[in-house]
Amino acid sequence: MTLVNEKARILANACVGPRLWLMELEAPAIAAAVEPGQFVHMRVPLMPERILRRPFSIYARDAQAGTVEVLYQVVGAGTDHMTTLGAELKCELMGPVGRGWQPPAAVSRALLVGGGVGAAPLFMLAEELVGAGVRTDVVLGAQTEAALACRGRYEELLAAGASCGCAGARCATDDGSFGRAGFCTSLVEEALAEAAASGEPYDYVAVCGPEPLMRIVAGMAKASGVPCEVSMEKRMACGIGACLSCVVDTRAGKKRSCVDGPVFPAEELMW
């Protein structure tokens, strides 16, 4: 697959939750080619002294309109600066990068678990699965109701998938402002148990979020005998597989999260 470095025009950049921002960009080549779970490596404009690009998973794309959306959380000076960028500015996006989600070909029922901003990189996967008629359940966790920034789109998608057995998203918030109070891992455990008891067990789990969450969910999937994929986030420089900054420890040695991942089968990881 050919990588491009596209001069993308910012179409919108708006706050959608606590420290959560949604940026829409015009990037036709990437919009046409990106697969669920892949990312773009962004050269953030007007920030010359911060020289490294920032990797962002694609939340959604519209191939016909040639646009992509990125949901980002303000975690440092770079993402803080991004909130000041106005529409019409251009920024370089290199992509689409990496190995995305690769559910088994014969998947019949999937469980997607998104923690915080980690809900975004799973959304295109959810669209693909529901579009293929796969019964798909979604668990979302966040600190507060306002931080469940992707929930609306998931609910809409899952409602459209009701005919293939999709139910509403199960949600948890740390402060109990929406859904279950506490971490979303209890919902994952319940979902796995209910599916197994119903005679329609999951045959695929995908999780993206803070590493402790991913580890716990991967452990639960393993205990239930369900294949699980996780999306790793590491500090990255080149985003192209050359610099070896973003390696993760796997059973086959150190692998690059940029091009060997960011999505890895959970059982390959040593964590």
Binding site: T2, L3, V4, N5, E6, K7, A29, R43, P48, E49, R50, I51, L52, R53, G78, E92, M94, K234, R235, M236, A237, C238, G239, I240, G241, A242, C243, L244, S245, C246, V247, V248, G253, K254, V259
Partner: protein, 318 residues
């Protein structure tokens, strides 16, 4: 749309009547731009953006005899106008390079400099011996990596060690031998002279500056290994100063590097005495940085009426 197409298509420098070829200690380069070891893998990763055969050379990631795991993560940190890295020369070993990367570089027609690393004097020699029947145009002996406990910078700070490792490598090959120097010394000209006296055909500098970054809130170093190599635009003044000092101290040609991001940066290094330059950290900022630097050199030469890029070498007036 035109702008985008142009950007995606141009993997080679633009045409010019300026003569760009240089000779780096016996290594013929079609233009004075190569890659800094460790920032460009063995070129293949960048091939969507850069026709590596159009570069003066590709300098490959440091290779040791057997594979090295490298350091723990986090391995990088961003700092103003630069970055720190602590990769630790992770590489799969010379056999892998020989089998998978060098044939590809030869097939696409690249000029290839292999960066050679080792934990011991013998290991440097063994790596070169293993490569003598491979398509390699020159060796760069890495006695300057700050991120390993043995070999690397520990060897490059000490004149007798420099003399010994360079002499041994010299005896192992007739190919052009470039010795890569660390800036983490009191007097780099002393090291440069030792390398020259021991048979180096050229010297390259600077490797990264030893630095560190701290997360004050967590009271923790930002790198797992605590210290790492500082690179990027911020180090250019130090690199220029050292290239200029070495140019005045030795006769062998110099491969200059340290923050080269634009054609003008490259010209500055040449004026200070470099015969060629390497683009490193800039590859992370811009995957097409190498070609942009060559284009920028061409722009400069055309604007300044320079017909041969060799006119720039050491042409600083001071």
């Amino acid at each position: 749309m035109d702008e985008r197409n142009e950007q995606m298509a141009a993997r080679t420098p633009r045409a010019t009547s300026v003569s760009l070829a240089v000779n780096l200690g016996g290594l013929g380069m079609r233009n004075p731009v190569t890659t800094a070891s460790g920032t460009f893998a063995a070129g293949r990763e960048y091939h969507d953006f850069v026709d590596v055969a159009a570069l003066g050379a590709v300098t490959t990631k440091g290779v040791s005899l057997n594979g090295w795991e490298g350091n723990a993560s986090p391995r990088i940190a961003e700092v103003p106008s630069g970055m720190l890295n602590s990769i630790g020369l992770q590489n799969p070993g010379v056999a892998h390079l020989k089998e998978h990367e060098l044939p590809w570089l030869a097939e696409v027609g690249a000029t290839t400099i292999v960066n050679v690393s080792g934990h011991s004097f013998d290991e440097y020699v063994s790596v070169i011996e293993a490569l003598e029947d491979a398509p390699v145009d020159a060796y760069e002996v890495n006695i300057s990596c700050p991120n390993v406990d043995a070999g690397g910078m520990t060897m490059g700070c000490h004149v007798p060690s420099v003399e010994k490792v360079v002499s041994l490598c010299r005896a192992a090959t007739a190919r052009p031998l470039i010795v890569k120097l660390t800036p983490n010394v009191t007097d780099i000209t002393e090291i440069a002279r030792a390398a020259e006296a021991a048979g180096a055909d050229a010297i390259s500098l600077i490797n990264t500056l030893l630095g560190m970054a701290i997360d004050a809130r967590r009271r923790r170093p930002q790198l797992a290994r605590v210290v790492g190599g500082f690179s990027g635009p911020a180090v250019k003044p130090v690199a220029l100063r050292m290239v200029w000092q070495c140019h005045n101290a030795v006769k062998v040609p110099i491969l200059g590097m340290g923050g080269v991001t634009t054609g003008t940066d490259a010209v500055e290094f040449m004026l200070a005495g470099a015969t060629a330059v390497a683009v490193g950290t800039a590859n992370f900022m811009n995957p097409r940085a190498t070609v942009d630097v060559i284009d920028g050199i061409i722009d400069y030469c055309e604007e300044q009426g320079v017909s041969d890029v060799n006119e720039l070498i050491g042409a600083l007036q001071c």
